[in-house]
Amino acid sequence: MTGLLVAVGGTLLFAAGLAAGRLLARRSAEGGTDLGSPVERATFHTLHTASVAAPPLRAGLTEDAARKAVRRLRPLFGTAALGLTADDRLLAWDGPGRHHEDTVLDRGRQVRDTGRTQTFAVDCRDPDCPVRWGAAAPLTVEQRVLGALVVLGGTESASVVRATREVARWVSVQLELAELDRTRTGLIEAEIRALRAQISPHFIYNSLATIASFVRTDPERARELLLEFADFTRYSFRRHGEFTTLAEELRSVEQFLELVRARFGQRLEVTLQIAPEVLPVAVPFLCLQPLVENAVKHGLEESVERSRITISAQDEGATARIVIEDNGVGMEPDRLRRILRGEGSPSTGIGLRNVDERMRQVYGDDHGLVIETGVGAGMKITARIPKYRPGVHSAPPRTASGRG
């Protein structure tokens, strides 16, 4: 008895889960119940079909996309079959009469060559075959014919021809949008790549000059600094991966500071407070070094006697909070605002703006830099980095780049 009860309960639960899954699989395609006049209903129906067919096409003209689109578009025509061709290939076919593939491909080729819609009769020996006639319309993206939409049916009909042409045009628009999407994604990628911070030529020059000054007086130290410099530049110039770990980023900051210290000696005092939990967090490549460089510049190069810099990384549950604080000359808040908006003179604060922009780009506007400063009040820069964000990984798993 109880076994039965449990079996029934289990089955019910199972069915419930299944239903939930299906529901999710197909976001309900039901419309409202009260839709007014038949014309309105038809309009709605058409629009709805189109909107359902659009998403797959936005991925571009692939076999998978074509299959889904054709299946969803066929109800618009009410004819026997619908096909999509491109590059001398049949991408998708929905409905009977698949044995006319060759005819359809042939027509597709003609459409591609002429760029015009055409109708054609289909010769079939099978008396049960519903396909007697067809229309093919070109799919054009940027004045180039990519393929053809082919509609097959029983009897010739002018309205079907027109519908074919219109639907083909609509599909073309979707494909153009897909092209646009791709371009935009590429643009974002390029933008991020362009935004990758670069170490300043001044720094390279200064470091080499400092090392040179040690060559005679303290060759051992010069050698060490040179190795440090080599490591630092190797890290900064690396090509792969937009992201790295906080641990690696901190190591690079360490080398940077070592080189700076060689130049300024005891005038620079750095305190580091690190919660070790946040060291594996993925961060945008070279996002700390520009901030530290900024702090060093404010502290040392602009007159302060003894410069104190505190770098801290704290664990805040789902985010890591990184704070870089200096006791340097600080900055006029309005000037900083202009710099962050990209209106300042190109030479100053470019690092700050760059990091701010990349943070916003990657994690959203909630994660831009928060800077507290005033003239003569030092500067405190806070960055909050989420421990997880889709698509953000510290490095590709493994590259056979032959390093090491």
Binding site: I188, L340, D356, E357, R360, Q361, T373, G376, A400
Partner: protein, 122 residues
């Protein structure tokens, strides 16, 4: 920072990005050229086999224990049998688990090293 004489600081943030496109919608699916799908598949299969083996030993070992215990003679008759249960469940299980786990780690790392070497070579 509230020391007297310290000039006041003001909070400054950058302007929100002009376009309201979602932050980094791009999930880069570009497969890593070095991550040959076949190699990944082979690695997965080896690791899964290894994991399943350890799990099998665990399930077989501990899963059969309750049955084995129920087959032990009644402690009222043979008091020693209760002691066996205590010794096994109370003590012996734990070192066995650690040894099994350690063995798995050594093997799994070997599999990974092999794969890494193969990828490097190709």
């Amino acid at each position: 920072m509230g020391a007297p004489g310290t000039p006041r600081r003001e909070v400054v943030t950058g302007a929100p990005r002009a376009s309201h496109r979602p932050a980094r919608p791009v999930r880069v699916h570009a497969a890593d050229p070095a991550a040959d799908p076949l190699a990944v598949q082979a690695l997965m299969r080896r690791q899964l086999r290894l994991g399943a083996m350890v799990f099998g030993v665990l399930a077989g070992g501990t899963g059969l224990l309750p049955l084995a215990f129920s087959a032990l003679p009644d402690p009222a008759v043979r008091p020693g049998s209760a002691l066996i249960v205590w010794a096994v469940l109370g003590v012996a299980v734990y070192p066995a688990l650690v040894v099994l786990g350690r063995w798995y780690v050594v093997r799994a790392e070997r599999v990974e090293r092999d794969t890494a070497a193969d990828l490097e070579r190709s």
